[in-house]
Amino acid sequence: MYAAPFSYHRATSVQEAVKLLQELGEEARVIAGGQSLIPLMKMRMARPTALVDINPISSLREIETSKGELRFGALVRHADLEHSAAGATVPIIHDCAAGIADVQVRDQGTIGGSLAEADPSGDWGTALLALETSVVCFGPDGQRTVPLEEFIQDAFTTALAHDEIVTAVHVKVPPKGSAGAHLAFKRSAPVYPTASASAQLTLEDHNRCKEVRIVLGCVGLTAIRAKEAEAALRGKLLDEKNIRAAVEAARAAADPQSDMRGSADYKRMLAGALVKRAIGIAARRARGESVEAGHEYVGR
């Protein structure tokens, strides 16, 4: 399958990328790993007239830790995060990175590209909303930092202007006693999940939930913070009754559509089940247990 014709431009600095985007106009797009954009272009669902390839900008490939913050360059690959120290300290990042599609896609796809594409089925938007995340954007007027909540506005729609690029993703390291999990169910490895859920919990007194975030993925036009589900747990004991209330609230917060991956009802039930499991795993991890979790699929 051929994409519609486009002109191709290579940028070697963020300044050059922005300049190219300004010159090439609103129909130009940035390409990073290309793992979401290229399939869309081949199906002609996206028809940019020009591509600005930012892969030569090596400064966007770095991972740094600074002042309690993890800083991921926009071009950091999912596979790099899967094997990173950041993934080892913040398990939700490892869960997400290690389960996206397959080896080939994880070797190419980038964290910045995934967020900038804002595919409602993408994993990073869900997992990173469970943490305090901000997106660093660079444009003609310089740099600005946008909280992830404001960055992703709708399906395939972000706060980025046409002449801005994502340069980094900053994630606040959760406090001691806090841990999370990102779980997803997909029909096979290479496909997007049918539903996903992230939970990040801070525990006190062994089983009391001090702080919590619960996020649903693939069941709405964007990732959904299930705030009523969080309220059902915040300040309360993590017992069966409270977890059940949180799961029910999470199901109610889901807004799925029936499609080839499943009916809306099925996805709502699946999202609830994933939330329940994510809460359990996050709590065990918060107590210091090492638990493997992530994407489930047939043949895993």
């Binding site: 399958m1 051929y2 994409a3 519609a4 014709p5 486009f6 002109s7 191709y8 290579r10 390409i31 290309g34 793992q35 290229i38 399939p39 272009m41 081949k42 591509l51 390839d53 892969n55 690959r77 596979a79 599609a101 397959d102 080896v103 080939q104 896609v105 070797d107 190419q108 096979s188 490895a189 290479p190 496909v191 699929y297 043949g299 895993r300």
Partner: protein, 161 residues
């Protein structure tokens, strides 16, 4: 193809400097097959699912149907043609032949490259690592059991060499 401006793409493919002038929308797999006549890399689904088109680019695997050729500029590419050396099959190829890790052979070029990458990272992979390593490669013939046998045999052979 349209009359869009062509650009030169240069890469080291299986150790050899190669180049071709292509339209920017040319996929890496088409660059290899149509422009460099390296038809060992197969187009299976053409949707980034099946993995038949897997090659190694700069030490990372890629589904070559999901990369525009200019993005590989200056890169180091290994395709299935680069596995055998001096007329002798690579240990992975021998193992797949020995263990019947293929029937129709369509998915095989991709599986061989995915296996090469897997064994570089995990010279003695566990079953879970094998499952994860080839999860992006679909085979509709073997049911994967013989692929697993082939990978285990290749791992053992490569340890010896």
């Amino acid at each position: 193809m349209s009359d869009a401006k062509k650009i030169l793409v240069r890469a080291r493919v299986n150790g050899e400097a190669r180049e071709a002038e292509v339209e920017p929308r040319t996929l890496l797999v088409e660059f290899l097959r149509e422009h460099l006549n390296l038809t060992g890399t197969h187009v299976g689904c053409d949707t980034s699912y099946c993995g038949a088109c897997t090659v190694i680019l700069n030490g990372r695997t890629v589904k070559s149907c999901t990369l525009f050729a200019p993005m590989a500029e200056g890169g180091e590419i290994t395709t299935v043609e680069g596995l055998a050396k001096g007329g002798k099959l690579h240990a992975i190829q021998e193992a797949f032949a020995e263990c019947h890790g293929l029937q129709c052979g369509y998915c095989t070029p991709g599986l061989l490259l995915a296996t090469l990458q897997l064994l570089r990272k995990h010279p003695r992979p566990t079953d879970a690592q094998i499952r994860k390593g080839i999860a992006g490669n679909t085979c509709r013939c073997t049911g994967y059991q013989n692929v697993f046998k082939s990978i285990r045999m290749a791992s053992a052979e490569m340890e010896k060499r």
